[in-house]
Symmetry: none
Subunit: 280 residues, 2 copies
DNA sequence: CATGAAGTGGAATTTTTGTTCTACTTTGCT
DNA sequence: AGCAAAGTAGAACAAAAATTCCACTTCATG
């Protein structure tokens, strides 16, 4: 064993990078060459094989293993994991570090840990939405909804709060809505009043609530345009709807965030209100 | 060979995604399951091994290979390359893209700007909560609620979705709740059943809904412990409640985020459930 | 410049991984 | 209901990978 300090090796890319740059451990020529290569082409380390990387770095395969061990890992694969994690949840890495800092601060406080988890899941969901949302579809959905006389809001269980909020907010904006999911149990009858001049918004995530799907099919059969908000192209809502938007919420401890969906419907509602104002 | 169209398979992630969504090739159940998984956890495909992915997706290793071949690749590795390439050129420019894409590409896109605003407000709210929340108070609140026979949930207007969510989630956790704010108009009578052995959660932000305050005073007068969630020490809810938690939500275009409050109540609910489990 | 320790290259070995094959199950059709 | 076709699970196999090992080279030191 060469430069092994006995200390534990870095668990994340950031500190591994620090270590390599600082040269706290003086590495022999070939190993230093590997370090340089790794900092220069981190993706190569993440995706390559020992053989392929060795070739590109003009080094023997065994050198890569020795390098990994010199830093303190048991083998090359462990080192590679660090490089892969870095690419895994690209946008979470920053937040995770923040979380790590906080965790040490309130290490023994379960409430702090939980809040951190939920907040982190929410932020992750929001970032993924920012990156992946198809804004054309949002605009198309908004036009559909703006043209509707009445907007029927369909959601059950954990998605119900979203439609409850839409019901309130759209009311404030002067848009006529009907909130499905009332405890009165007359939802199906209520939906019989919907016409093709109206529209519906349906929200459902895995595992898709059966009644939501039933209602969507009911109104779709009546020719009512349906905007679905769901979490996968393979959601049963997709084939039943006119138009759909994808939101994937991260979860923590089995509780799925609602933040991204909330942000999406807020966006949608504001655009609907704007179109209404323009076309009046 | 199954659904192989003979056509050449996609060379980049984007078109592969399209293909899977469009269902141009109708896939059998297990292969569809793989497609679903791949779209949900693309990173898993990029870094995992056939065995590890198969396990996570609840599928046999051979299914992954058949899936790849059904799309037109010669084997799994070719498919995996697509997923890896996607991460390769993403990360390098992620920060630039974040800054650049949003401002240049969507410069004229109102939907993107709105979403950006709402997402940003949500993140800001969450961060402020993380920094400022008094975790001791959360623990105290959780103990009060855990000791309650029934938890009454009081909120109106824009806060109602929060209690609607709590009603659902606490139900899942086996905690008995009563959701105030039903359209039936019998809320005040319902609250007459509350006793000091119960508890209430009241949520209200500026401008404080009058009925929420009325209800809080009503139950407080009956000796029911009240946990208030509000946005200022000067909120009228504070003097009327046993215990209060502060959440300040940022807003954008007049729409206040609900993300921080959501994260807070999730935290609270999990702790309540934990205490219940321990003391039973 | 002799000598031991550290470093290195390349082949040998072991482990992991992707792929193929076959018996069995499900599905769709008459 | 019966039968062919399509789909699937799981083990067997082949390929490719990581790791180890050992002979050889370089370097520092007295």
């Amino acid at each position: 064993m060469t430069a092994d300090t006995g200390a534990r090796p870095p668990r994340d890319f950031r500190s591994l990078r620090e270590l390599m740059i600082s040269q706290a451990v003086k590495l022999p020529k070939r190993l230093q060459q590997v370090a340089d290569f790794a900092m220069h082409f981190p993706d190569e380390i993440a995706f390559g094989t020992v053989a392929s990387i060795a070739e590109r770095a003009n080094v023997q395969p065994s050198t890569l293993v020795r390098f990994s061990q010199a830093i303190g890992y048991t083998g090359f694969s462990e080192l590679q994991d660090i490089f892969r994690d870095r690419l895994r949840d690209r946008h979470t890495s920053y937040n995770e570090r923040l979380a790590g800092l906080r965790e040490t601060a309130h290490a023994d406080n379960p409430a702090a840990k939980l809040l951190e988890g939920f907040a982190e899941a929410a932020v992750r969901s929001l970032n993924s939405l920012r990156e992946r949302l198809e804004f054309d579809q949002v605009a198309a959905a908004a036009h559909r909804l703006a043209a509707a006389e009445t907007i029927y809001l369909i959601a059950q269980r954990r998605s119900f709060p979203i439609t409850a909020y839409m019901n309130y907010a759209l009311g404030q904006l002067g848009v006529k809505t009907v909130l499905i999911g009332s405890p009165v149990g007359t939802d199906s009858e209520t939906l019989e009043f919907a016409t093709p001049r109206d529209a519906a918004v349906a929200i459902s995530f895995t595992p898709y609530a059966a009644t939501t799907l039933t209602y969507v099919r009911q109104v779709a059969a009546r020719g009512v345009p349906v905007v679905a908000i769901t979490d996968s192209p393979f959601s049963p809502l997709v084939p039943a709807s006119t138009l759909w938007l994808e939101v994937v919420e991260a979860d923590f401890q089995g509780f799925r965030s609602l933040s991204a969906t909330m942000a999406l419907v807020m966006t949608l509602m504001v655009i609907v209100a704007e179109i209404r104002r323009e076309t009046q």
